[in-house]
């Protein structure tokens, strides 16, 4: 990944994590049901609610449903501020049932690896050819199978954006084309975007990823050089909009010490 110095960040006025949070927030439309997940997406949900999507509703896999996001920094979805003032504290099956019914518009996921068809691996990684056991699915496989759209966030690195993942923890478009339908997955489901530290990937009708936007200051060549397959580039490639002052102020308010947005 390209080195980004403190001076560059200071000149730009935001970190790449903050850019990713803003890009993730914009994937949430007003009024949508959102499976929020952990880390950066927790901030993205709050940013969306406080800017363009004031009626978005957050679902958490521990059974929590929130219409008003917690205004305290969350380290986990089970932190006490995420329960006080919740719309409902139910059971895991309540929210998973809504997911399986097709009610959930968008779900956010992190990943150790993502491949050209948007399949995710959070079970087995490798470093220097040694296999590394990772924590596993959590709810990621469920969200990837059942949410109408999934949005993936990860650092852009050649070893993490790989041609094919070694283990499909959470299915994307498999090997492309009609793969999801053949598996029996719901018709309206699958990856919508992969937001990285360098750009945003989206998916063609054949299920293969393409570069849809590059972040400010990043060249297409840099993205391609850091991607483990020959990444297609959109004809109408755009530059990712930097985070707005309003978006940044929400992030600074909730995470002033940059615990999640270093």
């Amino acid at each position: 990944m390209a080195a980004h110095s403190e001076a560059e960040i200071a000149a730009r006025g935001y970190t790449f994590s903050e850019l990713m949070v803003a890009a993730a927030a914009r994937e949430i439309a007003d009024g949508e049901l959102v499976f929020v997940g952990m880390r950066l997406p927790m901030l993205a949900f709050l940013v969306a609610r406080r800017t363009h999507a004031p009626r978005a509703i957050g679902l958490f896999e521990n059974g929590i449903i929130r219409e008003t996001p917690s205004t305290e920094l969350l380290y986990t979805m089970g932190d006490p501020p995420n329960l006080r003032g919740a719309t409902q504290c139910g059971q895991m099956l309540d929210v998973m049932g809504m997911l399986q019914q097709g009610r959930v518009d968008v779900g956010f996921l992190g990943a150790a690896e993502v491949d050209r068809f948007g399949n995710l691996n959070t079970t087995w990684g490798h470093r220097n050819k040694e296999m590394q056991r990772l924590p596993g699915s959590g709810g990621a496989c469920d969200i990837a199978c059942l949410a109408r759209r999934t949005v993936v966030l990860l650092a852009h690195d050649r070893s993490r954006l790989c041609d094919r993942v070694g283990y499909i923890t959470s299915p994307g478009y498999g090997s492309g084309n009609s793969w999801r339908r053949v598996q029996g997955l719901p018709a309206a489901s699958g990856p919508a975007a992969v937001i990285t530290t360098l750009g945003v990937l989206r998916f063609g009708h054949d299920g293969e990823a393409f570069l849809a936007s590059v972040h400010p200051g990043i060249s297409v060549e840099e993205v391609l050089a850091n991607t483990g397959w020959t990444l297609r580039v959109a004809d109408e490639l755009i530059e990712t909009l930097p985070p707005s002052d309003a978006e940044l102020s929400v992030m600074h308010e909730i995470d002033p010490n940059h615990f999640w947005t270093r």
Binding site: E61, Y75, G78, R84, L93, G136, A140, T169, S170
Partner: protein, 308 residues
């Protein structure tokens, strides 16, 4: 309060009587809240071996039990340290058989919840679309693809999972085990119904009349309960809504102190092996830390009127 049918035991007694080596144990049913750490530590101190751990996610308690050599098999959706990342003991065991080889049976959160739900309903499986197309489905023998008998669809049958014992931490219970819990419920109710034995760990033991005053909040009926343990701070470093917050620094310290095996062994001795009981553990945490984690602003729910 101590009536003839009281199920109150000390943690030492409850673990000694009801969780033998080789047991399948459900822990961490409420995800990041109310993780029964005190019970897990007692399992380690009593030298349990060959346990099968069952739970959706596990925020460092599974990692500790694995590192201490208590575990033969893990049936879970996620094993690690939620705010800090990976679980090093889990990795050492899976990758290098340290301190021993363990078997992993990988679930997703939903399929683990359905496995417990099937057992709670007394049926052999529950159907779902979740995990279709994934390698979880290929590798986990308790997930089986089948054709729907009532429609033209593929589904996954999630085999019922019936733990030998479920250990649940709750806010309050009476001496018979009728329990109030609120906040993060996760898979606790299905887990309680699914298990053959149920140990309730409570922050407070209250009179039966307190529990009976709010039956909607009684998520565990006492007749399902095998033993009740009164163990304040028994879920630390995980939070208990209305009692104490999450000790984020403890999780981050655990992450740093378990990267190397010798550091983990030191951590294990300091926080578990040389600590005889939970009171000593709380003293080890120190008054300032306990004060810092306590409730700063109470938020009482409105009373529900059961009158007529």
């Amino acid at each position: 309060m101590m009536t003839a049918d009281s199920k109150l035991l000390t943690m030492r007694e409850a673990v000694s009587r009801h969780v033998p080596s080789g047991s399948m144990v459900l822990l961490g049913a409420q995800l990041e809240q109310m993780i029964p750490f005190a019970a897990g530590h007692e399992l380690i101190r009593q030298g349990r071996r060959d346990l099968t751990l069952v739970g959706p996610i596990s925020d460092i308690l599974f990692d500790q039990l694995i590192g201490a050599g208590c575990v033969a098999r893990v049936m879970a959706a996620w094993v690690g340290n939620v705010s800090a990342g990976v679980g090093y003991c889990f990795r050492r065991a899976v990758e290098h058989d340290i301190p021993r080889r363990i078997e992993t049976v990988d679930y997703s959160n939903f399929t683990l919840a359905l496995a417990l739900h099937a057992a709670a309903l007394g049926v052999p499986f529950m159907p779902t679309y979740a995990t279709l197309g994934s390698d979880l489905l290929k590798k986990n023998g308790n997930l089986r693809e089948f054709s729907s008998p009532v429609s033209e669809e593929k589904l996954v049958a999630v085999r019922a999972l019936r733990p030998d014992v479920a250990i649940l931490h709750v806010q309050r219970a009476d001496a018979q085990g009728n329990a109030h819990l609120w906040g993060s419920l996760g898979v606790s109710v299905d887990g309680a119904h699914a298990a053959r034995k149920l140990i309730i760990i409570a922050e407070e033991i209250v009179e039966p009349a307190v529990i009976a005053s709010d039956p909607n909040r009684t998520l565990i009926p006492g007749f399902l309960v095998t033993a009740v343990v009164h163990e304040p701070w028994g879920a630390h470093p995980s939070p208990v809504q209305g009692y104490y917050g999450r000790d984020h620094e403890f999780f981050s310290h655990y992450h740093d102190q378990t990267r190397r095996l010798e550091d983990f062994e030191h951590w294990l001795t300091h926080w578990i092996l040389q600590v005889p009981d939970r009171l000593t553990y709380v003293n080890l945490l120190g008054a300032a830390r306990i004060e810092g984690l306590g409730v700063k602003q109470h938020a009482l729910s409105a009373a529900a009127d059961f009158g007529y």
